[in-house]
Amino acid sequence: MIVATTVMAGLGLLAGLGLGLAARFFAVEVDPRQEKILDVLPGANCGGCGYAGCNDFAAAVARGEAAPDGCPVGGAETAVAVARIMGLVVEEKERRVALVLCQGTREVAPSKFRYNGMASCASAALLAGGDKLCRWGCLGLADCQVACAFQAIEITEGGIARVIPERCTACGKCVAACPKDLIKLVPESAPIHVLCSSRDKGPVARKACQVACIGCKKCEKFVGDESMKVEDWLALVDYDHPPRDPAVAGECPTGAIVELHLDAKKPVH
């Protein structure tokens, strides 16, 4: 009994000594600022910054490789906090949210065939561009939803993706996941959006979807400035100087332009 106890105690002592020595001799120099930065980061490890998790990003900032406002999830507050640790000043940027630029539900956008295969947009898009007659539209197979680490995307009853603005952290994962490039990060205060990405000619677009932008330029004429422009049969909002007059939505003959208040609710993190 005594022997056993002594042996175990001895082993413990030995192991403890070993660990202690290892900690001393193999210690990795860590910039103290890295830890401080890590503390103010959201800790979601989403990778939205382009680094492998928050710690990696913090290290990059501490090394001076990444900008203090590189965390899209934390937004302005985090950027300011990180900048303070680094002794820098950042301009406050407006919060952005992801927006799916398609509202072609199954009801208004017919399909050209019945798809059978992997429940993945990217896979489905390889077969004749997807089952929708509109080759630009949302396939609703949830690649963006799967990519989102914040459960901020839902597939609506109409079978298309929708971002839940109050959950969105603008990490950009969904933007990269969409094979149709339908998702855009927009400033939350912009009130007017063109929820269509079809660059088909008007009649073609209209046939493929009842709520398509047909490139009629009514909106362009209505706003009368650079804030909206039609390119390749598609109206685009200049999000650096977005139109503010909600009446422009009423001008759109197909309802592709809508008024949306993405900042109605603040993030709930």
């Binding site: 065939f113 019945r114 896979s123 390889l126």
Partner: protein, 441 residues
């Protein structure tokens, strides 16, 4: 020699007994400029032009490219984006037939192939717009121009027709054995080879006999009946079965001194030289339980699918899938506005009850696909890696060697869409490798 793996699907070759029927001339033809692997051609006609039968409508868009020709005489009504069997809209020449079907004056016999120069033959085949007619549609003249360090010593005629349902090659071998064998001789002449093999699956012994009887005495040809197993007609498997040579992984038949051509291509090559005909017609099997009168048809390239189906009595009410090609590797169509193209070996019409419903269930690791894969791959693992977006790991599992024959998905008891998964994986990996190369450069 028997290759490893492979499957035994139901062959359903009920149309094998039906002689080839000539499809009557239609009113409208649509000839896409891209009907081959490689760069699409550039149009040389415009709306309003009158064209003769066999007149070129385009010029090749590069070395790996061929022209397309007018299937009949008539007027060009449009050169625009039209539905293409690949599922997209692509530039095509629309022709309104004048009903006279008059040959273009440029269509003239090129002479006797035995007396012609190989290079001249090859150019003539290129000008005739010849592509591999088994379905891959690789330009024939490119295949016939091997690099100097890879000399071809053996020519192989592919008469396996291992795809279920299809009988067009079978009928061609039975009905035009002389043309087929002359085509073989012609290819041998172009390549300067003295030895040829003809491989036919054992369920078509009558076709092999016909070819044997029609073989010109001056050709050294070995005839072989092959095991009835899919994918016997795949180049690498066919070469192995006939010669025992193994095309190296990632390599081409020319790496073992072989060149394979399809039966239909041989006939087209012979006709291109002996009669001067460009590739404007082919034999296509229209079959399946959802077509009222299955037929083997001789069709003009560019015939709208709707016309073909109507000529075969139309589709049944319960039709649910229309496939270009065979059931193992064919492409499902959603529109009946697409035309027949050079590579359309068959049109398979399946009723609702026969449509495979792929599921996204988990792999149960039964290993059926591993046994079935003729390329010695692990389709189950490839599928799982693709499902999880682990594209770079695919490299270790030799995904590039997959021939997309569909044997794995055919026997998967979990009905996983393995070909779809792997096709996507191959594309993603190619993209990554390209990026890597650019990064290195």
């Amino acid at each position: 020699m028997k290759f490893k793996g492979g499957i035994h699907p139901q062959y359903n070759k009920g149309t094998a007994a039906l002689p080839v029927e000539e499809m009557p001339l239609g009113a409208r033809y649509v000839v896409p400029l891209a009907q081959h692997l490689g760069a699409p051609g550039k149009p040389v006609v415009a709306k309003g032009d009158r064209v003769g039968r066999g007149q070129p409508l385009s010029e090749p868009g590069g070395f790996v490219s061929v022209a397309v020709h007018a299937p009949t005489s008539g007027k060009v009504t449009a050169v625009k984006e039209l539905p293409h069997p690949l599922g997209l809209e692509m530039t095509a020449v629309e022709i309104e037939a004048d009903g006279e079907d008059a040959w273009w004056e440029g269509v003239q016999p090129r002479g006797a192939w035995r007396e012609m120069d190989p290079a001249a033959l090859r150019d003539a085949l290129r000008d005739a717009g010849l592509v591999g007619m088994g379905g891959a549609t690789f330009p024939t003249h490119v295949k016939l121009s091997p690099p100097k360090d890879k000399p071809i010593g053996t020519f192989i005629l592919n008469g396996a027709e291992c795809e279920p349902y299809l009988t067009s090659d079978h009928r061609v071998m039975l009905e035009q054995p002389r043309e087929v064998m002359e085509g073989v001789g012609l290819f041998m002449k172009v390549l300067g080879v003295t030895k040829a093999y003809v491989g036919v699956e054992a369920n078509k012994a009558d076709a092999l006999d016909a070819l044997k009887a029609a073989c010109p005495p001056d050709l050294d040809v070995a005839f072989a009946l092959l095991e009835v197993k899919y994918p016997q007609g795949s180049e690498k498997q066919l070469i192995y079965a006939l010669t025992g040579r193994t095309v190296p992984a990632g390599g081409l038949p020319m790496d073992v001194g072989c060149l394979v051509q399809n039966v239909g291509t041989a006939v087209a090559a012979y006709e291109a030289i002996a009669k001067g005909w460009p590739l404007i017609q082919r034999v296509t099997t229209v079959t399946g339980a959802a077509i009222r009168q299955p037929k083997n048809l001789r069709l003009r390239v560019g015939t709208p699918l709707g016309d073909v189906l109507a000529f075969c009595g139309g589709l049944t009410e319960d039709v649910a899938k229309v496939v270009y090609g065979g059931p193992m590797m064919g492409i499902a169509q959603f529109s009946l506005d697409v035309p027949i193209i050079k590579g359309t070996s068959g049109v398979l019409c399946l009723p609702d009850a026969e449509v495979v419903q792929y599921l996204a269930d988990a792999c149960i690791r039964c290993g059926a696909c591993v046994d079935a894969c003729p390329m010695g791959l692990l389709p189950s693992t490839l599928g799982v890696l693709c499902e999880r977006d682990r594209w770079e790991d695919l490299e270790d599992f030799n995904v590039a060697d997959c021939i997309e024959c569909g044997s794995c998905a055919f026997c998967c008891p979990a009905y996983r869409p393995l070909v779809q998964l792997i096709k996507r994986g191959k594309a993603e990996l190619r993209r990554i490798q390209k990026m890597r190369q650019q990064g290195a450069a």
